[in-house]
Symmetry: D2
Subunit: 245 residues, 4 copies
């Protein structure tokens, strides 16, 4: 099997939403062109010492491991990725519920967060909650949201961001401690972090966050993570993608 | 040993900050008046089957386990607590970095968060970053913060909260999906959750969050958690408190 | 719904294999007759604050949570159990791969392990590897195992156990350190531990270890754990049992 | 700072005990000669965005992070290592209590374990339990262990190993399932695994297992792991080694 060119380390940030990105920092366990996903395959072979027939073929082995997930998922812990992400705080709030990842995030206690904020497009606003009705309009709202409404919301949101920023700067200038000056900071403001975990956990993250029930914004981040995963672990991701259809 | 009255289940919410609280929901491993902390003690005795001299005395055993922490900390995993907490979002942001706890939090995707927001007192604002200088005023600020400045910040913060709330209600009324209407929501708004973990992890949480370098607000929550711990696990907490002085 | 009598704390050891057992020590989150599984249900309601229609009925709520597992599994972390187990070392070797449980096990470094060993029945030996062919006879073995062979193995195993025990006692009597005297100890010897984790993790354990591909011996332990779970969390386990058929 | 030659990937197995080894498979986060430990340093800088004075110097930053461990330990999660280990089963039994590592071990269910067993040297036997008295001779043993006793134990142990091996081979030849034929297998037999985790967890492992209270055998493995860590993360390990004196 000859490898696609994109197996080379991918370090350009992939843009997400209006000001966010996902960027690959480092990978391990991905092997090389001669033996891609070597870290996973060698770990799996450690258990069986050649006793399983058919496992001499990497493809058959990977497919067996993937399809019998829980009892055979540990080899996927022998590869992993570090990424860098810029996303709105409300996206990080959902992301950080994944307790198997390591995080180092910018802290508004230590440095003022730059004035970069998420404003959803009209198209996005019109999607409502997508496939997740609970996330949509409040129950009992009789109004049908139209483009004008969406645009009104956008302007008001931009105004809210501006209103906070003015107060933030004034508070910092007055000597208000940074950790308090942030009280009014909107959850739509962008923050930045590095995140690291093994491939098993990345696949778990993708399963939950590429799901149509997840909030559309975190779905976009998950898709960027999946794109990077595909460039690093093409055969595993082929199985992953196949399993979702 | 006769037990203090407060060993009885404590379920009244303990008020924290202007609108928050911590409330005990359930405990396990705490034994009864006849044998407090029984869950911990019996787990420890499981390992040694009576082979350690001196361990027939509960106090000596607990003290040994506590002081030799890492190799002997597992018995503290055999007790635990579920609590309910109301706190500002920026406190939850710090809290959720503790990846060994279980969380179920109100979701602004599913229900509008009530208009309850944190406004620090003048006294609190004047503390600046406390013992953590990094969290204080931005470097280069020549101004000395005075009471007037603190009061100005309070009014502006209240205004910011009000500004958002108006837009939030108007957005929800227009049929904007709840998950987007929240973009401008300030991190000073109160949210609510249940949190559960074993005593070993609660002690880890207390160690980090009662530290003078932690943000003052989360310190107040940690003190409320410690208060509840003392009512449930008096002998362990005596050792914990002694270890901090 | 009136509760089955067995919802009362079950503390009698359930016998497993020739000398093992599983015993319930403590449960949390199970609520009471008036509201079984209250810990799980209240945690789930925390997230939604009454915003989901249909969730006012406990059964509908539990069923929703259970069937949408990964995104909605956290409420099952708000209940849990501590158990005590006696099992052969090779069973514990498999059990301890579950990294989300807490363990306190007898230590042969600290106290000589009693001379109690697992001898499989003829019937069990004749099962071969059950549904897991890899665990069966070595490849290339042409012999068909018969009852006589099984009985021969049993006698030889008993002899091996006896041979070690004699050396063990002699080594301990000579003053050989306990931590070394154990070198020859067979993995069929019984050890004992306490194990604790939340219900979400117990369900994960059951899924893997009640599977026909798991070793028959640990299946028997998993069945005993499931039996206890049913007595404590009857409605969750009804969903669990239904999901396996 | 010019880097020591041993910063190059080290892949030769380091011998441990009579037949064991530890071997580096892969590292991440270690940076290169121009910026060693880059993964850790960049993750740390992510949090503070240049707001801490003095942190422009890598050494000062690493030292700050290391010495303020718990609140500032997360950057050490952005580097890690995969290793391969051959060790006696009783060493693996202790090792696997570290629940933050990933493991893939040879399975005696799937392939007969080769006849390689640990026989402690006379010198080792004479150490008794070292600094851990509990691990030494059983209480009440009046005998002083002498060289003759140690040699007697060695011969008996070798005999026990031989006795089992004969039965094992005979059982396998008779068609006894592999997963049962192993019941009599001594915990002194060597097994093999891959283990992977981040540097924060490796440091935790080293702290516990290089301690004089740990069993001498696992201390030897921890020292080999530390040796590899030093070759990959020289500046972090300098801080680690200094902290232990």
């Amino acid at each position: 099997m000859s490898l696609p060119e994109h197996l080379l380390p991918y370090t350009e940030p992939i843009p997400v939403l209006d000001h966010g990105f996902v960027r690959l920092v480092e990978t391990w366990g991905k092997g090389d062109a001669g033996e891609p996903e070597a870290g996973i395959i060698e770990a799996a072979r450690q258990s069986t010492q050649g006793s399983f027939r058919g496992w001499e073929k990497d493809e058959k082995l990977l497919s067996f491991l993937f399809c019998n997930k829980p009892p055979h998922a540990t080899p996927f812990e022998f590869a992993g990725m570090v990424i860098e992400v810029r996303a709105p705080i409300f996206v990080f709030r959902e992301w950080h519920r994944h307790r198997q990842q390591s995080y180092n995030e910018m802290s508004a206690r230590y440095a003022p967060l730059p004035d970069v904020n998420y404003v959803p497009t009209v198209e996005r606003i019109m999607m409502s909650g997508g496939k997740n009705k609970q996330a949509g309009a409040v129950t009992g709202t009789e109004v049908n949201l139209d483009v004008e409404g969406a645009e009104k919301f956008r302007s008001e949101l931009i105004e809210t961001y501006g209103f906070f920023q003015e107060d933030y700067e004034s508070a910092l200038a007055m000597g208000i401690p940074k950790e308090l000056a942030r009280c009014g900071m909107p959850v739509g403001r962008y923050s930045q972090m590095r995140a690291s975990t093994n491939l098993r956990n990345w696949l778990g993250f993708l399963t939950l966050r590429m799901d149509p029930g997840a909030q559309w914004e975190i779905q976009k981040y998950a898709e960027a993570v999946a794109y990077i995963c595909r460039s690093q672990f093409p055969r595993v991701m082929e199985l992953f993608d196949a399993s979702r259809n």
